[in-house]
Amino acid sequence: MASQLQNISIVAPGFKGINTEDSPLAQDASFAEIADNTVIDQRGRMASRKGRTLLTTTATELGSAAVNAIGKYKDDAGNSKIFFAGNNKILSNTVTIADETPGSYTITANEWKIVNFNDNLYFFQSGHEPLVYNNSLGAVTKMSAISGAAAVTSAIYGNEAIGSWGRLWTADMAANKSKIYWSDLLLGSQWSGGSSGSIDITDAWPNGYDEIVGLAAHNNLLIVFGRHSIITYSGADSPASMAIQDTITGVGCVGRDTIQYTGTDLLFVSDTGLRSLGRTIQEKSMPLRERSLNVRSQITEYIQEETLSYRSVYSPENSFYLLHFQSQDVTYCFDLRQELEDGSFRVTRWTPTVFDSFFRDKDDGTLYIGTVDGINTYSDYYDNGAAYTFKYKSPSLAFGDSSRLKMLKKIKATLVGGNGAEATLSWSYDFEAAGDSATFAVGIQSTGYYGASEFNVAEYGFGASSTRTTINASGSGEIIDISFEMPILGSIVSLQELNILATIGKVT
């Protein structure tokens, strides 16, 4: 006798993000096996990410190279200017790109760290003399040419730089991977005299040889990220007296550009994924948390295979932290609205993106994206006019008993948005890659606006349209995988709900 039709309702499917670490059978159905080009929206649903809108119209100076670093100059007088690097040049102007490279200055790479400090914009890159821009100078200038510059030698040509405690700090020099230099107070071009100095932490690494990858000022501590360990210094407001407060062995940082401040946490990427150093007020030791537990293996694999650079950005406006693997064109999006029970962040994956760099404008929250086309903003739902694909795959579903045969009858999907795109819902049994699928059109809703749309033509609406569709499924198996895929064509889409109706059969 056939058993009763059983329903599995997955509300807000995948809203816990990707989980590739737990056993598929034991997983919560709220996770997703795949969540490409998605984010967790403000209502906790899986939704399509925004696209990139190209600002640049003339990219002659950029040529075919990508924008690899973006920074913004801003001073007390309100002057501001976006700078970026690519094609071995310092560039400006997001629309018509201009070359700002100083004369007689040769650039051989584009891994600049751009630091805004004390009404100056500083450019640091290993093996290159630092560059300086301010409104008075009016042009990007070699640091040694700055009035009062001192000891601007290759010794301070660091790859990492931060502006904290009234000084510039630099580290990761080509010839010395364990030395940190700090400038004189408020004088970012003076590296000798005054209260400038340096510290060689070769002997301070807790676990043998290591190299400085990045620096951060967090919780009034100087965080020195090594490749395989971390040292925190207290008292960096008086660098001559600063002392180690804590060391972390076995966890380092894979790339300078993975370090992001979120206000409460300091995020960075270690060999095993995204980590955070929590902010503490009273506790002496900062909690170190692993934030990418659910995609640890994936990220570890990407880290191991990355041949170019890591890029990241924290966008409080979008409540995410993006981690981009440049050579593999994969971006992980960590939702920072809330963490899961195990302390990890909900994570989705974006690919392909052709992103190369990020920059968040703190003034208006604009998220700039550097690509080979020039400067883009994270906005709208096209990737420079092209569609991108929203993908979801559920975890393997056993309907509570993996020993029994399941026969799918119907799949009901509820979508919000999408606006006319054709979606594909597919299912497969028992971990087989190939399965059956069905397509359906997402509803269209043209929204009319009062005072803007034509009377009696346009229709007033509440925003995005919702689509509820039922697919008749077929086949049988013990484990069921459900996938959803649709192109994003200028409109957001959210996967609201999946209802899976199956008949439970005999024990196999």
Binding site: D184, I199, I201, T202, A204, I244
Partner: protein, 325 residues
């Protein structure tokens, strides 16, 4: 005159005869008076000779109770006096002994103890010179020596402090701090400063100590020099004392002679008295002679007066007739 007298007598034969008789009597008286005078002169001469003989000096001799003596002799031919003094044997021995001692003392250039003093003075001098030489030497080496000793005391603790700081800084991860303000860390700077101050202090103290020692050397040298001076004075005093002793001995050697000469004084007084006697005798002799001459002159004067008066009467008688003469 005689011509006139003759003329007179010629002219006045009576008167001349009377006169002639008177003259004869006068002449007789005159002659008697002249004889008395001669006799008186002769007897006065004899008396004077006797007195002279009696008043002549008689040589004499003195002999003291200790046996020394004084004597004189008159050469019987020439009458020249010769004198002899003599000491007793014991006095002579004493004198000889004293003079010998005095000669020894006076000629002694190395009185007893003088050599030791000289040696001590020499040693003091040498020691003084040594100390003075040391005091005059450059202090650099001594300063370095003192400094090194002070540093040898200070260094282990400084090393411990340095190591402790190194360890502390190592544990604090500050081992490699290099600052423009301090060179290293402020603690390193403070410690280096403190140690530099200690070194400076040690340096200054070593200089002061070396100078103090130099001063001490000089003072010791000076003391040795003073000691040498004192010893030299003592040696000189010893020599002087020896000389004085010699002179005293020399003086003492003449004491017997002086005693003898002192004893001569009474003899000398007697001789003087005898000389007085002799002088008195000569005076008597002279007076006697003079009295004889006076008698002689008186007698002759009386005879002359007599003759004169008689002649005047004669002549008056003669010339009274004729006038005055």
């Amino acid at each position: 005159m005689w011509k006139e007298l003759i003329d007179w007598a010629t002219e006045n034969p009576a008167q001349a005869v009377g006169t002639a008789g008177g003259v004869a009597g006068i002449y007789k008286a005159y002659d008697d008076l002249t004889g008395i005078g001669d006799t008186a002169q002769d007897r006065a001469g004899t008396l004077a000779d006797t007195l002279k003989t009696n008043a002549q000096f008689v040589p004499y001799g003195v002999t003291t109770g200790s046996g020394s003596g004084f004597g004189m002799q008159k050469d019987p031919v020439t009458g020249q006096m010769s004198y002899q003094t003599s000491l007793s044997d014991s006095e002579m021995n004493l004198q000889n002994m004293l003079q010998t001692n005095a000669l020894t003392a006076l000629s002694n250039t190395n009185p007893k103890g003088y050599g030791n003093i000289q040696d001590s003075a020499y040693q003091a001098n040498m020691a003084g010179q040594d100390f003075m030489q040391r005091a005059g030497m450059d202090n650099g080496a001594r300063e370095a020596q003192i400094y090194n000793r002070m540093r040898a005391v200070q260094s282990p603790d400084e090393q411990r402090q340095r190591l402790a700081l190194e360890e502390r800084q190592f544990n604090q991860g500050r081992h490699g701090v290099n600052t423009a303000m301090y060179g290293g860390t402020p603690e390193q700077f403070a410690m280096e400063k403190a140690q530099a101050e200690a070194r400076n202090s040690a340096s200054m103290q070593s200089i002061q100590q070396a100078q103090a020692e130099q001063m001490q050397q000089a003072q010791i040298g000076q003391q040795y020099k003073q000691l040498q001076g004192q010893l030299a004075t003592q040696g000189s005093g010893l020599m002087t004392s020896e000389q004085q002793r010699g002179l005293a001995g020399l003086q003492g050697s003449y004491i017997p002679q002086a005693g003898m000469l002192d004893a001569l004084q009474p003899g000398m007084s007697a001789a003087a008295a005898q000389a007085q006697h002799q002088q008195y005798g000569l005076g008597l002799w002279g007076e006697t002679q003079m009295s004889g001459l006076d008698a002689y002159l008186g007698a002759n004067l009386g005879a002359g007066n007599l003759l004169g008066n008689a002649s005047a009467g004669v002549l008056a008688g003669i010339y009274g007739k004729k006038g005055k003469v």
